[in-house]
Symmetry: C2
Subunit: 235 residues, 2 copies
DNA sequence: ATTACTATAGCTCGAGTAG
DNA sequence: TCTACTCGAGCTATAGTAA
């Protein structure tokens, strides 16, 4: 019996309570006694629950002299967002939220190609796209605050999770992908690496084809990236 | 340990799963075996959970020869909506959804006054308004599809619950109230009785004052009813 | 096919307590 | 204060089975 993925109902409730206490930031300072009181559970059980949540990677704790800071991790947030999305779908209907981002194409340092060519990412992209990804990414710079806000809105949805992996040489971090349509023509995935997620002004796009050729794009061209929540995978 | 109100985490999960299977309508035909499979739980436990949910009044069951229809009750829906609202608040920010309804004032059959004067409702209205309710209601007819759709949107939020009650003579049903502001001036409660909720074109307003006098209203006047989700009680 | 009872294995809870 | 251990009471799950 698992809510979302991995999470037992009781633990999910603890996570949900933490979210309510933490608000948007996902961090609170709260003791096991306090938290237990809010939930109507003993300090002891609360302590155990928090250990479990931490072991599952849903929260991180930071112990200070007079208490503990609890951060809900990415994975924890994803879980909550997934449940939120499910509830939204059923309660307010298939709100076909369409988000549109506009940005300018630019040439990066070829890092995108390097990452896409890692088999660890390739295989996941293959699954999301349904095709072999073109071995390069399209770099897009967002120019306006509106676009950056929309990007944040996009990030509030769970999207598709890329898992990190290790090769002999080095380790690669995780990230998320969002199924999008570029210039109302080409299906692609907007990729946001966990590492780079605080650079709010750029995004990268991966597609089954060479987007520059397919859409005759050159540096400085403006493209339109559409995301529909209904394109999300079902679970 | 209760999610929303009354509901243990495990039972909440069952309710949540039912919602996902049922979609917006809140009704599914599903066997304990099937439901158990979806949740990763035995048929026996599922059966017990459904009995508990029914005893709590969160679902209703209808047994037919080849299975069972499960309806999520109003109370069950309210619980799910409450959790949804909580998640929304934390995940997408205090979306100060402001709904505006417009409608035409008309004179009813005095039923409103009859109900408001029942102490069983008066005491609850007193609590919601913070004042003694004026002994009469303002009847409003919604004219456009947009207004009726907004009314439905309003009904998707949990609002305030009016409990039904019994007197020596008869019994009175429950309903919901939504805190609103009339003509941007007067705080009031929009009341929707469970019994009348399928008459989509009319609503009734209760306020601490005589709205007709206070706003110099006569039959046929158009009023503006604003609802802000942030006015909702916190729990 | 259904739903749901009984019996028991196993898990979770909180009191007591330690660090 | 804080977190978290141990351990027994009680609750919950499933197998077996009935209707």
């Amino acid at each position: 019996m698992k809510i979302g993925k991995d999470v037992e109902p009781v633990l999910w409730f603890v996570l949900y309570t933490l979210l309510r206490l933490a608000g948007g930031t996902g961090a609170v300072k709260v003791s096991t006694t306090q938290l237990g009181e809010v939930m109507g559970v003993s300090q002891q059980s609360t302590s155990r629950h928090l250990q479990h949540l931490e072991r599952l990677g849903l929260i991180k704790r930071e112990f200070v002299s007079d208490g503990t800071y609890i951060h809900i991790s990415r994975k924890g947030m994803d879980n909550l967002k997934t449940v939120y999305e499910q509830l939204r779908k059923s309660l307010v209907g298939p709100a076909s939220t369409t988000l549109i981002l506009e940005g300018v194409v630019f040439t990066g340092f070829g890092e995108g190609a390097y990452y896409v060519n890692q088999e660890g990412y390739r295989s996941q992209l293959r699954e999301f796209l349904g095709f072999e990804p073109f071995p390069g990414t399209l770099n897009v710079r967002l120019r306006t605050k509106v676009d950056m806000d929309r990007r944040e809105e996009l990030e509030r949805t769970p999207g598709l999770e890329f898992k990190g992996f290790k090769t002999e040489d080095r380790s690669f971090g995780g990230g998320r992908g969002y199924p999008v349509v570029v210039n109302d023509e080409v299906e692609a995935v907007l990729v946001i690496a966990d590492r780079t997620r605080y650079d709010r002004s750029t995004v990268e796009i991966v597609a089954p084809v060479n987007l520059r050729k397919r859409l005759s794009l050159k540096d400085g061209d403006v493209i339109r990236i559409s995301y529909s929540s209904s394109l999300e995978r079902d679970d």
